[in-house]
Symmetry: C2
Subunit: 225 residues, 2 copies
DNA sequence: TCCATCGCTATTGAATACAATCTTGCCTGC
DNA sequence: GCAGGCAAGATTGTATTCAATAGCGATGGA
């Protein structure tokens, strides 16, 4: 076969691509908060007809990223600063739950290996005692891998879906985490180790609590009570 | 003006009506788990064209009620028994969070009145010592009112949205709660009173814990964790 | 001057028509 | 008899067209 890439699905439907694009723009802030969406204009800009665009818009509204008023169209939802804090607490609660599930079920050998690897990578970054773009990139990847491994180990698709919706919101996106001093990273990696320990020793409630505190701490503060 | 009803919005868009209908059918089980959806057939059955139907389907997929595979269509997601337990734990975590937020902010006079009223109605039902269809209906209404009041008092729209998604899933829907012995109801109303107390005295963490236990208990069991 | 009403325009909602993709069964060749 | 591929039908994806609604300014009256 001389085809260039046999396993690329022929082409994702436009509606999905459009939805991804719009999500992207909201994360980038290219779509301002509260902005009203004009279907015809946006469709032209994206080079598609209104049909797939409308499909994407309704899906995003169902995800909670857009507001929709019948006969009045879509507006970009407002995600201002205090909303971000709230989103982090939701995320903390859900990830804590995932952690408890994972501890209850126990880790599969594969999952354990993946978690250990992510943890080791994080610790390796800490060992460098440096905090350049390269280290930051490595840490972020390891961090995402760790959290996703736990989420997968929870074995609860509904929870994964729910969490994904929260993470897709502009505020609490993992890629938005910016405050990275070496101390922060060290602290977080240490959190990860303790979380993994609690899961390994089969202590679901402790695992949940630790994960909850960990995620709350990412946003940068003690719990507010 | 002799118009019959001036404030009824002329008619909800078909897409929204169709989405509601389909949600309804999934809750009723009229759409079986894993069933593949044929757009043309379903559209004809509902008396609409494929356009609003597809809008509704994509929205439901975004909510997590349907599976969607590009170029292969939609299938009804499977919500079997063990998934319902998991959904209840998600619901417990989220409602617990709502409870904590409500306690942190404090209740507005209106919210307090509404919560007290719902609680009183529940207690009135308990006082009857009867458990017929009528009492059950009254209790259910009071129960929903109580939970919604707290959710509103939490003042966190993202949380409300997230919780709504979970509640809309076939399993944990509030209307599906069936085990209603007088003892169950008494217990739940008592839970409500304690929760309201914790909120009133400004004890966020206790409020959260109580609500979490309360919701977990609805599904009928001690936490498994 | 202010308010209500009418009608025009811009925008959204839905249906139909068409294109692309997948599925299925048959046929050919081995 | 079986594997592979090809073609026809079915199903999904997109564009275009038309209908319905909301927004808004003009116009006329009080």
């Amino acid at each position: 076969m001389d085809g260039p890439a046999p396993n690329i699905p022929p082409l994702l439907p436009r509606a999905l691509r459009v939805a991804d694009t719009l999500r992207e723009r909201m994360l980038d802030g290219a779509l301002a908060d509260g902005e009203k969406i004009n279907e015809a204009r946006l469709a032209a800009e994206l080079g598609v007809s209104r049909t797939p665009l409308r499909t994407a818009l309704h899906a995003l509204a169902a995800e909670g990223l857009l507001d929709y008023a019948p006969n009045r169209g879509f507006t970009v939802r407002d995600f201002s600063a205090e909303l971000i804090d709230e989103a982090f607490e939701i995320r903390a609660a859900l990830e804590g739950l995932a952690c408890r599930f994972a501890a209850r079920h126990g880790l599969s050998p594969d999952a354990r290996r993946a978690a250990e690897a992510a943890l080791a990578e994080g610790e390796a970054v800490v060992e460098t005692n440096r905090c350049g773009a390269d280290e930051l990139q490595r840490y972020r990847a390891a961090n995402v891998a760790f959290h996703e491994t736990i989420l997968a180990a929870a074995g609860n698709r509904q929870l994964a879906d729910t969490l994904r919706l929260v993470l897709n919101r502009p505020g609490p996106s993992l890629r938005r985490i910016v405050a990275f001093t070496p101390i922060d990273i060290r602290r977080r990696v240490d959190d990860h180790r303790r979380i993994l320990e609690a899961i390994s020793t089969g202590d679901p409630w402790r695992a949940e609590l630790l994960m909850r505190e960990h995620v709350s701490g990412i946003r940068g503060g003690a719990a507010k009570g």
